[in-house]
Amino acid sequence: MSEASQTHEFQYSNAHHQAETAISGMWLFLATEVLFFGALFLTWIYSRHWNQAGFDAGAQQTELAIGTINTVILVVSSFAYSAGVAFIETGNGRRLIQCCAAAWLLGVAFLILKFGIEWRDDFAKHLFPGTGFALHGPLSGGAQIFFVFYFLGTALHGLHMIGGLALVGWIILRASRGEFSPAFYTPVVVVGLYWSFVDMVWIVLYPMIYLVGRGP
């Protein structure tokens, strides 16, 4: 099996050529993703500029504790995955599986905290924008727009997390079949790039949701 995976598709001159190409393809895909989230962040910042008081009033309703814990979880998850990549470079397939499993479980923990607990609380507090929105008064409009961004941003990030978890799971599956070796571990690297990217999106979302509005 491991021999089969070391061959290359017919359009490449060798396995190394294919590996390098796959990695550059993922980088380009991430460029697309940057522009995708970039448009969201730009719109977010622009809208906040015109409704600063409302946005900040909305941001103060968010759960800072859960957000902070989730940030730590994701950073550790990314770190664990990267450690796995380092292990497979030296041929330690068992450690790769352990690291990926840790990364995967931390990812699931993030989702549970984010959507199972935080979102449920948000809905219970009537923070979803629209009729019946929790905040009233002059700041209500801006706060509702903040929550449009909050729900859209976290939902899109969550979808990317789910996609990432599927990919990490796939890596665990292949690793458990012993398909990776120091000579061939391109998929591990490619998925690692994506997993780190999802982490980085959160690194931007975290201050925009929880911190900026709590400033002095």
Binding site: W50, N51, A53, G54, G137, P138, L139, G141, G142
Partner: protein
């Protein structure tokens, strides 16, 4: 088939000169391109035994030449178009203001004297007119081809447009921004008439009260006077318990905001203060003003703004 469009405003001819210049430039370039293609198609057709000689390898001089030439021509056109555009959107200070409200699918016009029209706009020739425009729903666009002007009419904003008509007559008014099913029915006419006739028209269609006096009634009805005082004298002065800024003399004057910046109190600022007071709050007053968003129509807003404006004496030029 009539290819002549009346030039009804002072600037229409200028726009036409620009378009003519663009047309002549285009025709010259087009003649060059088509001419060369036709010439080469004949002269260098595969069957012709015209001696081609050795291929010319030095191309960069030609490339540089036509790059610079196009850049220069384009830059000239840009300057021309930009200069005129800047003038088209700088209204003179003494322009007569008329208010326009777009709505699916009609134009509502409010004159200062309180006269109202739908899908028609009567105005005097020989006088600068400034339209102050807003929309109740979607984006519309106020376009008068004979005046060579158009501008989008946006909800939540006041957009302005100015012109001076010099030919009496009746002209098409179109909505040129797709605004829903009845988009094509949203047209009307502009009736430009000599000043005396316009005065007659105003008198014949005279309303019971001017915009400003209707605004005064609304100022009471919406409870504005409760805090801002009768005649907009301000909270303290009129004995009200609430400390609210005085509105007399506000229009056109600088207002310091809580974030340290200073804005000039224009139509849009007053509108913003009524609909979303937290957005640009005036400094040194407590944030007590409630939002009137959704409770007040565009027409009433115009009237109240006109009233607040009337509290500031006209500055002499």
């Amino acid at each position: 088939m009539n290819l002549w469009l009346p030039q009804a405003t002072t600037s229409a001819a200028e726009v036409d000169y620009l378009i003519l210049a663009l047309l002549l430039t285009s025709c010259a370039i087009l003649a060059l391109v088509f001419g060369l293609i036709l010439l080469y198609m004949i002269k260098y057709r595969a069957g012709s035994d015209f001696d081609r000689g050795a291929p010319d390898e030095r191309t960069w001089r030609l490339e540089a030449a036509w790059t610079v030439a196009t850049l220069l021509i384009f830059f000239g056109l840009f300057v021309w178009g930009a200069d005129l555009y800047v003038r088209l959107f700088q209204p003179p200070s003494d322009a007569l203001k008329i208010y326009v409200i777009g709505k699916q699918w009609m134009w509502k016009i409010e004159h200062q004297g309180g006269q109202r029209e739908i899908n028609a706009l009567h105005l005097p020739v020989g006088r600068a007119i400034q339209l102050v425009m807003t929309s109740e729903d979607v984006i519309h666009d106020f376009s008068v081809p004979a005046f060579r002007i158009k501008h989008d009419v946006l909800p939540g904003r006041y957009e302005t447009l100015w012109f001076e008509v010099n030919e009496p007559g009746t002209y098409h008014l179109f909505c040129t921004q797709l605004c829903g099913t009845g988009h094509a029915e949203m047209f009307g006419e502009i009736v430009a008439m000599p000043a005396p006739e316009y005065q007659n028209w105003l008198e014949q269609n005279g309303a019971a009260e001017t915009l400003a006096s209707a605004g005064e009634t609304l100022f009471m009805r919406y409870g504005c006077s409760g805090c801002h005082g009768g005649n907009g004298a301000g909270g303290r002065q009129s004995g009200s318990t609430v400390r609210a800024p005085a509105l007399a003399g506000l229009y056109g004057s600088p207002v310091p905001l809580t974030d340290g910046s200073i804005v000039t109190a224009d139509d849009l600022y007053i509108r913003d203060c009524i609909l979303s007071p937290e957005r640009r709050r005036v400094a040194s007053y407590p944030p007590l003003m409630p939002s009137f968003a959704g409770q007040i129509s565009e027409e009433d807003l115009l009237k109240i703004t006109a009233y607040i404006k009337s509290l500031t004496p006209e500055k002499l030029p």
